[in-house]
């Protein structure tokens, strides 16, 4: 009987002409999704300044373009800047957002639900609306061209929203029990709450990493000193520095892409879960 039902389900999933057409389109789209990145990788190993891929020019053992990108254009400094900014963004976003989420979900104080609504409203404000006054504040305080300016803009209410949803699942009884046992408040937060919300923290790290790594407009306006450029700004400038040296520009693009890509390869599930969670609950 079991065998029969198996063949039945198989029959229902048989490929109809419509299904074949659908499969055809989806395969084409998937190919278009990946092809530009393969092209980028391959072309980053050529020296030709024309764009026709000639396989003769491609030499995968020749890292001249990469050496040049790192050696001369200050690209390495930008890479380090991005690593520092992303690292700090992820760390501070996790700390500040999980503290706030814990306060909102597990503590009671006057006006907290109203305040949380205000937090949610700030999420729909376009970044450009706040960018100009923040630029002016930073300029007046002499904080342009600092890591502080690059990091602080990344920290927003999204993390609070994301972690608070997860915080609901932390049982109140557990926190009560710890309190009864005389565990001090800060230890409850660090030793009990944080380990329990680890999965959502990983999602937040992934999110913050990609947002911060890919941020362009704010680094573009807040850094005027080339030693403070982040990777996206440095990459956007390669095009003006090296006009038609496409191999070199694409080597830069490959470097900027490889970090989020590696993270994605390892933490695919967290990427997808983070988006699905923010999306479905909206």
């Amino acid at each position: 009987m079991a065998g029969m039902s198996a063949t039945n389900t198989k029959k229902q999933k048989a490929w109809t002409p419509l299904g074949v057409i659908g499969l055809f389109f989806i395969l084409i789209f998937a190919a278009i999704c990946i092809a530009p990145f393969l092209y980028m990788l391959i072309m980053s190993f050529t020296h030709s300044t024309t764009l026709m891929i000639s396989w003769g020019d491609v030499n995968f053992t020749d890292f001249t373009n990469y050496e040049h990108v790192f050696g001369k254009s200050g690209f390495f400094r930008s890479l380090m800047n991005s690593v520092i900014v992303v690292g700090c963004s992820c760390f501070f976003n996790c700390v500040i957002a999980s503290m706030a989420a814990y306060g909102f979900e597990k503590k009671h104080f006057w006006g907290k639900e109203f305040l949380f609504k205000v937090y949610m409203l700030t999420l729909m404000i376009p970044g450009q609306v706040t960018m100009i006054p923040v630029f002016i504040i930073m300029k007046k305080l002499g904080l342009l061209n600092t890591y502080f300016a690059l990091v602080v803009i990344i920290l927003n209410a999204f993390g609070v929203f994301l972690i608070r949803q997860f915080m609901e699942s932390v049982p109140d009884e557990l926190l009560e029990a710890a309190k009864v046992d005389g565990c001090p408040e800060y230890k409850i937060f660090i030793n009990i709450v944080i380990p329990l919300i680890k999965p959502v923290l990983v999602s937040l790290v992934v999110f913050t990493f990609v947002t911060s790594w890919n941020d362009f407009m704010w680094p573009l306006v807040s850094t005027t000193d080339s030693s403070m450029y982040t990777l996206t700004v440095a990459l956007s400038l390669l095009k003006t520095q090296y006009q038609t040296n496409y191999g070199l520009i694409l080597a830069g693009a490959t470097v900027s892409f490889i970090f989020p890509f590696i993270l994605y390869a390892f933490l695919q599930k967290q990427f997808v879960e983070g988006i699905a969670l923010s999306g479905v609950k909206g």
Partner: protein, 292 residues
């Protein structure tokens, strides 16, 4: 101190760091933006109150008119395309390919999402190059004429739109896929018993059940598209002429190239108004749906 008071104090201490940040870098700046939009301000000299002058000038500015037109066209081209493609692909993957291959395809389609707009713009600018760009090489291979993708006023904006759709589909596909997986299987079983074809099932079950998600996808899509900057800046820089200038590019130029902070803030406030209106409309739709 009573226990209740102590707990309230603890709560406030936990929330305080985020509160300070959000006040200082989001809420107060909104009011500053609102104030500056009524002033003439170049950072060096103190802001000078000029009433509605900035707003009047925004509506007379030919650059802003072009930017508004391009941005609207961009929204109208990208949002429907990315919504429909992501929905159809998600439905197909959920019903026909819930296996390893399907999972692999979903992963592949998400790759453009994780690349920065700068990376994507850099690659595509080179692929779309008129002389010897990959796409024109492919066209020439099939004996078709080269197209000046980013250099012609006819094709520049649409090229940026296509790249934007390419970049966004994977993101919305993930949202739709999660939504479809959440629909009860019983509905489809019942429909199958009644002899409904898969197309009928899609229009009678999937589509209506996904309505809230579609609202979200469309609203997010519209709001993000109104803020387009990175891709256009990287691929064309606004050209040729003003063919691909966008509203945010207008804000960027006014604020950070010409240091007309008041004027830029007026544009930013109008952008905020657009976003607020879109959100209000979305909420109205939602309420209407819930009412039914």
């Amino acid at each position: 101190m009573s226990r209740k008071k102590k707990e309230a104090l603890q709560g406030i201490i936990y929330v305080l760091p985020s509160f300070i940040l959000i006040m200082a870098f989001c809420i107060i700046p909104i009011f500053m933006s609102g104030y500056f939009s009524f002033t003439s301000y170049n950072i060096m000299t103190p802001p000078k109150f000029v009433g509605l002058e900035n707003y009047e000038r925004v509506f007379q500015d030919g650059y802003v008119a072009d930017a508004a037109k391009n941005t609207l066209l961009y929204v109208l081209m990208t949002v429907p395309a990315q919504t429909i493609l992501s929905l159809v692909f998600a439905a197909f993957l959920a019903y026909k390919m819930q296996n390893k291959t399907g999972g692999f395809l979903r992963s592949v389609m998400f790759i453009p999402v994780i690349a920065s707009a700068v990376t994507a713009g850099t690659i595509w600018r080179i692929i779309l190059n008129t002389e010897g760009g990959l796409l024109n090489n492919i066209l020439n291979f099939f004996h078709l004429d080269s197209v000046n993708w980013l250099g012609s006023t006819k094709t520049a904006l649409i090229s940026i739109c296509i790249v934007a759709v390419w970049k966004n589909v994977g993101y919305f596909l993930v949202i739709y896929y999660a939504g479809i997986m959440g629909i009860s299987k019983d509905l489809y079983e019942a429909a199958k018993v009644d002899g409904a074809t898969s197309i009928q099932q899609f229009f009678k079950i999937t589509l209506p059940m996904l309505k809230p998600i579609t609202y979200l996808v469309v609203t997010l899509g519209i709001i993000w598209s109104f803020q387009v900057f990175d891709l256009a800046y990287l691929m064309t820089g606004g050209g040729p002429g003003r063919a691909t200038v966008t509203l945010v590019m207008g804000i960027y130029n006014a604020a950070f190239k010409q240091y007309k902070m008041g004027y830029a803030c007026a544009m930013a406030m109008l952008l905020l108004l657009i976003v607020v209106i879109i959100n209000v409309i979305e909420n109205l739709f939602f309420k209407e749906r819930k009412g039914k």
